[in-house]
């Protein structure tokens, strides 16, 4: 287990080093190392949205955030997008924010037409391996991190789950129910790293 933990931390450190070596990369990433109880703080990052505006995850503190890693070529992601649009519309006033991180290698050239075609109403940024590695490496899409108002990751969903599962979680977190003890992960590498402390 110690070896695993060391490996996970080395992995996270390597990710940051890789990032720092990529001079032309506009992405700013940094792992916040705050931990409260069993929940880990969602690693912070700064990326640009489709309008060129800066999106910094820590600026969403006080909101419930669905942080959704997706791609334009991902069929199951396409199923979720209308749900997220509905959630954004229905729960935004109560403090929900959906933030999509598109993992398309072609970046905005692929993502902008997709956003337009699907009339996506929530904020989308283009991610890369540096950001993915902060979240334990994103092996499969969609992968969605559910983040509470304190910026802690309370759940990780790898792959498509039911719309109702999201609604239950969103309503619980928005109403202030104590979901913090519910760190339910689904056996993914991201979840494993999360539990090992690579995401703190």
């Amino acid at each position: 287990m110690n070896l695993l933990k060391t490996g996970a931390l080395l992995f996270a450190t390597t990710s940051l080093l890789l990032y720092s070596c990529s001079g032309s990369n506009p992405v700013e990433v940094k792992g916040l190392a705050q931990q409260t109880g069993n929940l880990k703080t969602a690693p912070d990052f700064t990326l640009k949205d489709a309008n060129g505006s800066t999106v910094k995850l820590s600026d969403y503190r006080g909101k419930v955030v669905l942080l959704n890693f997706w791609a334009t070529w991902c069929g199951p992601c396409k199923i979720e997008i209308p749900w997220f649009m509905e959630f954004e519309q229905q729960y935004r006033d109560q403090g929900l924010e959906v933030l999509g991180i598109a993992m398309d290698d072609d970046g905005w050239a692929a993502v902008k037409p997709y956003i337009a075609q699907h009339k996506m109403n929530y904020r989308v940024v283009v991610g890369d391996d540096a950001v993915a590695n902060l979240y334990g490496g994103i092996d499969s899409l969609p992968t969605t991190f559910v983040i509470n108002r304190e910026g802690k990751v309370v759940d990780t969903h790898v792959g498509l789950i039911g719309k109702d599962d999201y609604i239950t979680e969103i309503k619980g977190l928005l109403s202030g129910a104590n979901k913090d003890a519910m760190l339910r992960n689904s056996g993914s590498p991201a979840a494993a790293l999360l539990s090992l402390g690579a995401i703190r």
Binding site: W73, G75, P76, K78, S140, L141, V158, L160
Partner: protein
């Protein structure tokens, strides 16, 4: 995805020969066919680098339709083959050589997708 190691392709100068790439996917997974029905989907694509043989034609198998959500996808599943017809130019040098190619694909199951991948393919060739 697993690609069986290609056997040596024998071809006479001035003639063609067909090489078969045997591919198998894990149960439950699919890859997009060479002609996906959605412009955003990533097609499977085999490309060959220049070498002693000329790739004249690449033939993909007949795809199957799979329903994901409201979309019908054109995909390959299970075991399938991609054929390449190679021409040995008349001036080709006789002997043993290697043709190198790349297979790009993107795999999903019903709940999630893997990121696009590219694997190298090497085919030993015997030119007579």
């Amino acid at each position: 995805m697993n690609i069986a190691t290609p056997q040596t392709l024998s071809v006479k100068r001035g003639q063609t020969a067909t090489q078969t790439l045997d591919i198998s996917l894990r149960s439950g997974f699919h890859v997009n066919s060479d002609k996906p029905k959605d412009e955003f989907l990533i097609p499977i694509k085999l490309t060959w680098m220049s070498g002693p043989l000329a790739a004249k034609q690449i033939t993909y198998p007949k795809p199957e339709d799979v329903k994901v959500g409201e979309d019908t996808l054109s995909v390959f599943t299970g075991k399938f083959t991609i054929e390449t017809k190679f021409l040995a130019p008349p001036q080709a040098q006789a002997g043993i050589a290697t043709m190198q190619g790349k297979l790009r694909y993107q795999a999903c199951d019903s709940r999630s997708c893997k990121r696009p991948a590219t694997v190298e393919v090497k085919v030993p060739v015997s030119i007579q």
